[in-house]
């Protein structure tokens, strides 16, 4: 990070704080974008990619901002939920951020929502898929540019049935996101007559999978559906291969299983099928340009987390553009964002009444270290937003 710039920002923030009573004309201020992502600890890679995507989008669409500058205020959540409210209130009360982008981790999202719900700022979630965020806890000022946990997993049930898998073992870490993913899969899979032979919940963040895999081997189901991400996904896919299950029992997963992890997984990941709202190899103009530019700017290939961050940036740019640069009226801003129609690298997206993206879900298969799209099992899929009263 550019230390000088940040110091400058800080100073500006402090000055702005003290001069708050003599607020300047809104349109000349920079738009303040608080970034609340993990830059250290287990989710650091995800936070980094999200930030890159966000910055890239706002840079690319600078002309849409009607001359307004963007000021980033970056905060490391360390993926520690108990710190989330404090950091969120820092961005809200200290920095008076117009937009707050974050987080990666669902627990942190809950802590943020607690502070930011119905406040004078707009929260855009660029990853955390907790159903509650656009379900029971949904609010006018909370948007999500990623997915709800239900979205990527629900279509997989249909895919499994289409492949004539009748008996499936599901497995994930025992936490909200994992359980919600398995539930979504179960919902569509059992509705079509499939049977979940066993549901295995592994304590988070344990990565000793051998004993579970041996058990799966003894059950010998038609397929295995899992939710894992990051380091756990790497370890799981490698263990699945090493213990000889690969090639005998097809492995299905929520797309995070093979996102940002393919290089580490190596040949073990070949042939794994997953469903997600994005795929590296999506052949559309936006995506091709996005991937090329991203690689050029940051020296590594873009992943889903970068796309979601990028779309958070697109959403901001789009809304600011619609309002001609004046975002002082929160109601108008929210209305503009609700109506946004984005051309994302993942395809076109709009927003549901609960502010969750309505998007295509792709079926991908790993071929030569790439997630290749082989089908679109659900087009413009909208999260049911159970419990949302918007």
């Amino acid at each position: 990070m550019d230390t000088k710039k940040l110091l400058h920002t800080l100073l500006a923030g402090a000055v702005a704080g003290t001069l708050c009573s003599q607020a300047l004309a809104a349109n000349e201020d920079p738009i303040k974008v608080g970034v609340m992502l993990p830059f250290s600890g287990i989710y650091a890679a995800l936070g980094d990619a999200g930030r890159n995507g966000l910055k890239m989008a706002l840079k690319e669409h600078a002309q849409a901002l009607h001359g307004r500058q963007i000021e980033f205020i970056e905060m490391d959540t360390e993926a520690r939920p108990e710190r989330a409210p404090e950091i969120a209130s820092s961005l809200l009360d200290q920095h008076h951020a117009n937009f707050i982008i974050g987080p990666v981790h669902s627990g942190v999202a809950m802590g943020m929502i607690k502070v930011l719900k119905d406040k004078d700022t707009v929260m855009i979630i660029p990853n955390a898929g907790a159903a509650a965020a656009t379900g029971p806890l949904c609010a006018p000022n909370i948007f999500r540019t990623s997915f709800s946990s239900w979205q990527p997993s629900y279509p997989m049930g249909k895919v499994a049935l289409d492949n004539a898998y009748k008996r499936v073992v599901t497995m994930s870490w025992n936490y909200g996101m994992g359980r919600e993913s398995l539930d979504a899969f179960r919902e569509s899979f059992t509705a079509g007559g499939g049977e979940i032979v066993k549901e295995i919940l592994v304590p988070f963040p344990k990565t000793e999978f051998q004993s579970y895999l041996s058990e799966i081997g003894s059950i010998n189901p038609d397929a295995v559906f899992v939710f894992f991400a990051g380091g756990g996904a790497v370890k799981f896919v490698k263990d699945y291969d090493a213990l000889g299950l690969k090639g005998k029992i097809p492995l299905l997963g929520s797309g995070f299983l093979t996102e940002g992890t393919l290089e580490a997984q190596g040949p073990s990941a070949e042939g794994v099928r997953t469903t997600l709202h994005y795929a590296d190899g999506l052949d559309n103009e936006v995506n091709n340009k996005f991937r090329q530019d991203y690689e050029q700017m940051f020296g590594k290939p873009a992943d889903i987390y970068a796309v979601q961050g990028y779309d958070a940036g697109l959403l901001i740019a789009n809304a600011v553009d619609q309002l001609g640069g004046d975002i002082s009226d929160q109601a108008a801003l929210i209305k503009a964002m609700e109506g946004a129609h984005l051309f994302s690298p993942r395809g076109e997206i709009t927003f549901s009444r609960a502010h969750n993206p309505v998007q295509n879900i792709y079926l991908r298969q790993v071929e030569n270290g790439q997630n290749k799209v082989i089908d679109v099992p659900a087009a413009a899929l909208e999260d049911p937003a159970r419990g949302c009263k918007l």
Binding site: L7, C20, E82, P85, E86, S106, G107
Partner: protein, 320 residues
């Protein structure tokens, strides 16, 4: 004299008046008020740990269990959509936490040294995984508290917990009371026995004291206060998460307490302020704040033999 070290008196006279006036300067910026509140709440927790580790010689790496329990007990016993009385629930939570501590203390206080460190950790991890795996209490994502308790006594409401400034003063009051309370306890006859046990448990037994019972009392008391801190933390933002119980919470509290100067109690406040302050400043200066934080901690261990409090005391001694 209650605050018997000169350094401590200075600290009390500098810190509390400043803290009392702070919100007047920060009225524009409620964030700093909230941040200081969080730090003070954690300082209460660190103080209770400091009493156990530095005063009683009971090293625990499971103290965060009570911090988290403070929040979860509230979630469990309080009705979800009804404002309960703050003081009544403070009492409930402290009593329940004390009962839990009594049971766990009964088991863990049979061991000592590193074994005690580990067995306390074991219990804390069990509690952590219990709440983290539980679906009823929000699991990994935690629970919200929708309605904050009201603080009225006989119909007079002293603090509005939704107002950050009010909450700040409640926590400042709690901080001072805790410091005052520990000072009283240390000076008391109970404190005399605890001091004796810390210095020479064998001799204390030979004088006819049941060392186990005294340790159990101290453990229970400190745990109840730890739970009180956790309760305050939960109320600040209305959010409970199992990460409050994680061993890293115990670890950072231990770091702050050692940094401040073990056993000095007021050092716990110093340690928490310095640690959180450094964290805050470094985090805003560089993305690699961990590196500098680590290096500073290493330096401070090597330079300050008895923590910051010890260093200040030596400095004052030299002067006079």
């Amino acid at each position: 004299m209650l605050f018997n070290k000169r350094t401590e008196r200075y600290f009390v006279w500098v810190f509390f008046p400043l803290a009392l006036l702070m919100p007047l300067f920060l009225e524009q910026n409620t964030f700093y008020v909230s941040k200081l509140t969080t730090v003070m709440i954690f300082a209460i927790f660190v103080m209770s740990l400091d009493y156990l580790v530095g005063r009683c010689g009971l090293i625990t790496l499971g103290h965060a269990m009570f911090y988290g329990l403070g929040g979860y007990i509230f979630v469990i016993i309080a009705p979800e959509y009804e404002a309960v009385n703050f003081w009544v629930y403070t009492f409930y939570i402290c009593v329940i936490a004390a009962l839990v501590a009594l049971i766990i203390g009964f088991l863990v206080l049979r061991t000592s040294g590193i074994y005690m460190i580990m067995i306390t950790l074991a219990f804390a991890q069990m509690a952590f995984y219990y709440f983290s795996d539980s679906i009823d209490f929000g699991g990994n994502d935690g629970v919200f508290i929708y309605v904050k308790p009201d603080t009225s006594i006989f119909g007079i409401s002293l603090f509005d917990l939704d107002n950050p400034i009010h909450f700040y003063y409640l926590c400042l009051l709690s901080l001072f009371n805790t410091l005052f309370f520990f000072r009283l306890v240390i000076r008391s006859r109970f404190g005399r026995v605890i001091d004796s046990i810390h210095e020479n448990p064998g001799r204390t037994t030979a004088l006819g004291y049941n060392v186990f019972v005294f340790r159990l009392m101290a453990y229970t008391m400190a745990s109840a206060l730890g739970a009180y801190a956790g309760y305050l933390f939960t109320l600040q933002y209305g959010f409970v998460n199992p990460s409050m119980l994680a061993w890293t919470t115990s670890g950072s509290a231990l770091v702050m307490s050692i940094l401040g100067g073990m056993g000095s109690i007021y050092g716990a406040i110093l340690g928490t302020l310095v640690y959180e302050g450094l964290h805050y400043v470094l985090e805003h200066l560089t993305e690699h704040w961990l590196l500098f934080m680590g290096a500073l901690i290493i330096l401070m261990v090597i330079l300050f033999k008895n923590g910051i409090a010890g260093y200040l005391e030596k400095l004052l001694e030299k002067r006079s």
